[in-house]
Amino acid sequence: MSGERKRVLDMLGEGKISASEAEQLLDALNQTDRAEIAGEMEIAGEIITGKAPKFMYVKVASAQNDNVDIKVPLALLGSGLRLTSLIPPKVMDQINASMEEQGMSFDFGNLRPDDIEGLIRSLGDLEVNVSSKDGDNVRVYCA
């Protein structure tokens, strides 16, 4: 039991405050605790996941000195995904049907803004490194 709660209950026991006043004080303490916990979780979440990445980098370096370096703003990805929620339903059905024909059965209409934010934040941990025996390297990461 926290110190503040005990103090409220002691005051109730001594008759210094009424039951309704004690209830209000305990509710206020509960809200303060919840806000502190939420704040701590948010800070912990930022420490764990880090700040949202801003760019996706694709770097290809071949042994023959043919190099590709692409930097894509992740805001473009997020904006494009959010755009799918506004596409007319008939057009979306055609897009989904075309994608299914290509072997990708994914419904973009099911993407929610929270999912997109979480996806972009998670991309900060994405790193793909491919090295071939010919000396070609492909690296994809977000930062």
Partner: protein, 95 residues
């Protein structure tokens, strides 16, 4: 979100290995023209939305769709594509 202000295009061929040709395109000069087009588009989309809503159509969010498309174009800022081969060096940046 601010749309891209400039496009930087740089091309270097084998015989121009040292110098190459670079070009800065000031896109911001075209903003007033695009603003007029966007305004006209917004008016048309608003009329379409109202007509669709009054007609009982299921979909009436053309204005929001247009605004989101503008947001997507604005998000292009920062895009960089660099292709460097033995024959040529091509660089495109949206600033």
């Amino acid at each position: 979100m601010i749309p891209p202000l400039l496009i930087r295009i740089k091309v270097k061929g084998n015989k121009w290995r040292r110098r190459g040709r670079g070009l800065w395109l000031p896109i911001f000069v075209l903003w007033p023209f695009f603003a007029v087009l966007v305004l006209v588009g917004l008016v048309i989309s608003l009329i379409l939305d109202v007509a669709a809503w009054l007609g009982g159509a299921e979909y009436h969010r053309y204005t929001l769709l247009l605004l989101k498309c503008l947001g997507t174009v604005s998000a292009l800022r920062g895009l960089k594509v660099l292709v460097d081969s033995r024959e040529q060096h091509v660089e495109i940046r949206l600033i």
